[in-house]
Amino acid sequence: MANLDPIADGQVANAEAPVGKSVAIRYLLAFAVPLIFPAALIALALIYLHSVGKLAPVPLTGSISFNEKAELLRRDRHMPIDVLAVGSSMTLDNLDGQIVKEHLPGDTNLFNAGSFGLKISQSAHLAQLILRKRNPAAVIMVTGPEDFTVNTQSGLDYDDGDFESFTDGGFYPWFVARHFDMAYYRSGMKEIRLDRRSRRDYGSLAFDKYGGVLLNIHFPHVNMVRWNARADLIHSDPTEWDAFESFAEFLHQRKIAFYAAQSPLRKTPVNAEMASLMKARCARLARIVEAHGGAFFDGFDRCPLDDSYFADYAHLNAQGAEKFTTAFMDAIDPELKTLQFKH
């Protein structure tokens, strides 16, 4: 076997350092320029946009609404929560925080953690994460039919530890770097600027001081596709119902009062078959909530609203939210009076 030792055969290339130290340092500095320059430029742009409130929230998930809510939780991390509202946009848009607050003692705090597109299981998971660190006396959830349908969307997955460390006030630049997504920031910048300012958009993220959004959308200035849409009452997912029941059980065990409500729907697109399905659905919700010591309010049946209170087939505008929340709070007022707040 030839050439067993290339070093001895003199085949090994000159092992001496090919360059001097100063040349090497100069080279490494120049090498770093293409790496540092774009990174520095991007970092400066991000810092500037953050300082003027135009930076999209850290992309913990693919949902800008959820991410924005996580930012709000982070900002309010030192505020105790006495009443926590969780759920989808039904909770975010249809629950008027001011009305809830009027039914609570003066020094209690409400936080609306509702976010677009959350299914019941996702809302329950988020609530359980928040409840690890917070100790509210009650949880409110406003539900709509879409909350129980099969989850076909992606992008709402997140790491629990990551979420907790972010909302606990972890080092902000670390999260920006860890979740850095240029495309998200590029597309999210325009979207977030509009959503933070205006309540005239369905995706508005102009949170009030409780974390909710009261939409300023009135017929006829509505999106007609959304306006005429029908609630999906047929494709409900059994796992979402299980999640709802488990959540009610979880709150019961933690001795946290649970108040759930069905949000009103526009009457026009609801036919007799849908009305009957809604009735059965609300009865099921009521059974689950009440079996675990909670209270349920059927806003579909007990709070009929005309079209002027709606932004679309299920989302209420500010006036609708006020009406619905008043009816909901009046219905559970006796229970609210018995609450023992822990802060």
């Binding site: 030792d5 092992a15 320029v33």
Partner: protein
Amino acid sequence: MLFNSYIFIFAFLPLTIVAYSGFWWVGGRKAAFSWLVAASLFFYAWWNPPYVALVLASILFNYFGGILLRLTRSKSGKPSFALLSVWVAVNLLLLGYYKYANFFVDTINYAANIHLNVGHVFLPLAISFFTFTQISYLVDTYHGAPSEYDLLDYCLFVVFFPHLIAGPIVRHHEILPQIWKSDGYLDITRLPAALTLLAFGLFSKTVLADSIAPYSTTYFDSVYQGLMPNFFSAWIGTLAFTCQIYFDFAGYSTMALGLAYIFDIKMPFNFDSPYKARSIVEFWRRWHMSLSRFLRDYLYIPLGGNRRGKMRRYINLMITMLLGGLWHGAGWTFVIWGGLHGLYLCVNHAWTTLTRGRAWANTWPMRGFYYLITFLAVCAAWVVFKAQNLMVMRRTLEAMVGLHGISFPIFFERFSILGRLGVRFENIAISESAVLWIAALLAIAFFMPNVQQVMHKSQPSFEPVKRPSRIAWQPSPGWALVAGTALVCAVIAMSSGVSEFIYFQF
């Protein structure tokens, strides 16, 4: 862990380098090398931690085998062939079990129409590489080569992360003397060349190879799902894979050189612009050079090489290449691929013998023909290599020779000559940009120097660079900007997803 992952580039590598220097300062050579072994095992364990035990068991077994071989030689004056045979057989059995058990059982079941079941045997990453590396150690020890190494040094030689997963297949006498004389600490003067190799290698993988990969994957997957390919799509799919595997392997080999060089270890070259080969013999001197060398030294030559007549030489070539093909993967397509290359080599040698001394065989038109025929033969073999099964292979090769008709995409209508030649134009789902990108990559493969040729002044390997390029890298700010930009582009390209190196699966 993959070389082209953020965790490797931004966490594992910097931490390993810094800690390596730190351990050298605190505890000297032993501490630094122990760290490097631990880091390499962690690098391996990232994929599947329990298999670290297999690597360690293999190392201990072979290290012990080396000691026994030396002992028998010193006691009886001659090495024990029986001992070597047992040790090599155990290595091959281990490799055979993990890599080929399912393949052989499936083949027997199919042939005999029976239902043997060994369960699903999970292939440990890199088993082919660390087994071959250690077989070479045992064989060299048997032949009396100096091989008395400290266990820690031996471990480092086997598991050193730049070559552990996908080669090059290193030999102890090339690497261990370097480990002994390594100055250990992080020498900043090595970094310019090492980081440049790393940057160019990563660029080759994430920007060039990964950008063309979807075209080949889409093509072969769609044929696998039953689509009947046409002439144009078959060629595009094949050429896309031809480019993908070229830049993928070039990228890995270049990164391995750079990574090892950071630690003052020079690896053998593994890649040397194989598509510039003028014959299949030359192709195998340029492609996966460390595997070719292993097969030559530990299989072809022991079989008799070319020393026992022409016929025996051809038989030896076929055996070597069939086993080389099988080494790549447990599947009939790999066996056929190896056999095809064996056949090519036989034809190549026969042609060389036939045309020896004939001037016409070395004229420039003939030389051009050799380039072309070699490249086409390699492309055809890549179809066999890439095809998921024999049906995909057959359909693709049929389409490539026009058995399914010759049609081009509509955007080729502008070349009127094609129409006059009877070519049909159809709505084929291949974009103009795909065609242009493949053409650009082939131009790079054919006409550009490779990274090691450009980097020849930095001597990135212990082997001399053949055919050094006139475009020569220097530690100048201009080159630093080029390399840094390549790294930035590569890292940005990684954000669209991390894909394995093709040779990781072997």
